[in-house]
Amino acid sequence: MTLQEKTDGAAAAAAPPRRTRRQAYETRVRRRSNTVAAVSTALVVLAIVTLVPMAPGWEAVKKSFFNAEVFAQTFPRLVQAFLWDIAIFAWSVPLITVIALAIALARDTRNPALFPLRLFGILYTDIFRGIPVILVVYLIGFGIPGLGLPRPWNSPYIWGTVALVLTYSAYVAEIFRSGIESIHDSQRAAASSLGLSQSDTMRFVVLPQAIRRVVPANMNMLIALQKDVALLSFIGPVEVLRQAGVFKSLLANFTPYVGAALIFLSVTIPATRYADYLIARQRRERS
């Protein structure tokens, strides 16, 4: 396939600039659909921009949700609070990766001596995928410090992180496991026939391929995690969602929530696009 591409490229470079009939036709079609798309988008935007302000409650909603003054007043503090979200996210991700991988391997183990480990892996993923994240955050965030840990070991940052890590590890472990199972048996057979041990086969042959294969799925988990970090606000930390809530009650205005939403979008939209790009690239590679 690579060879073919090369020759195609060479042919194109050598060919005169005249376009084929097909290319001319495709250009015409593309232009026409672009025009249609532009016009219909403009119409929809125009309709929203003119019709929404005609709604009887628009002035009140505008004042309450899209208040420029409140936005300017609160946005810098919101961005500052978002640094907490980023920090919590940043130290959660490596922990999730390691634990999820360990759980996935535990569930994959066939050694009877390690059966308890396998059972633990199954119970773990079943339990933590079955409970809403917010409940885990509450139960662990208040419950474990309630056992009487001294400061700073009872910090809601620590136990909130633990709650997120436990929950997300369960999901990511399942993703890793599906990746491991998607690697064809012939790869294991080839490794075994060379005399590689089970663990070397997993480490050098199966895992590298499995992990690569599930990168897009894990990207989506990361995006979800970035949003769920805000759940830690329920147990104390004043991150962006909580800061917005404080501003909301202080100013009786919902614009800070809109500001917080914008901050989240500024991170999650590029990440979502990137994940989609990875998925598309992988699909191309497989075909």
Binding site: G57, A60, V61, K63, S64, F142, G143, P145, G146, G148, L149, P150, R151, N154, S155, P156, S233, F234, I235, G236, P237, V238, R242, G245, V246, K248, S249, L250, L251, A252, N253, F254
Partner: protein, 274 residues
Amino acid sequence: MKLSTLLTSAAGLALASTAALAQNDCAAGKTIEDGVLTIATGNPAYYPWVMNDDPASKEGFEAAVAYAVANAMGFDDDQVVWTRSSFDQAIQPGAKTYDFNLQQFSITAARDEVIDFSVPYYSAAAAVLTRQPTADAGATNTVESLSGLKWGAAASTTAPSMIENLIGPEDSMLLYDDSADVVEAMKANQIDASLFDLPTALYLSAVTLDDGVLVGQFPPEMSENPDRFGLAMEEGSALKECVDAAITTLAEDGTLAALEAEWLAEATGVPVIE
């Protein structure tokens, strides 16, 4: 049959009290449902504001105030209908499903722009709630000793800004959804102290915490903006005038003070913060 009962009772009412009739004119046609006063409170509503989460029992400070206001406006007790609303619902702009709402809404200028408040029916002192170990460790009713504590508060109240302005804690504050979570964090020793309006603080120290202590309270004059509770109404409510008149009457004739003494009596006896 229903209609005839209604007519009879309306006739009886008209004959019974001319004063009520006069004030009824003020409210007439302005309530959401004619002849009925719809009052909202929190879901659930708490001691000592509403006893046993049952406002219709008239027990608890806010339940009693609600009926007093209704009576002063010329409504009989059985013309009062209770409904529930969340805090956020109440301060959102837009049409409301109640005539007024009481669940310890602090009157603030910003809130006043999107909803209407009545004149205050209660001015709450703010009290500092801690646990016995914190008090044993030396927390007293001075700003100096309080600023060294780890503070937490319910985010949607005026407590966070009061703590910031009046105490200025050295360590950053932790904020929670409601007072139950604040108490939970206090039990887990994640925070040392929090600020509540005095009646709530009394309730929490007496009922929710095993070892709760109120180390001090801020008198209204020490706070720039003493917490005053008002009835919340839809912005531009036609009823505001009648509600204000009723509360003013109840304040002047000593009814509010009497209800406060009846339901919030324990509020005395907490030292003032220096």
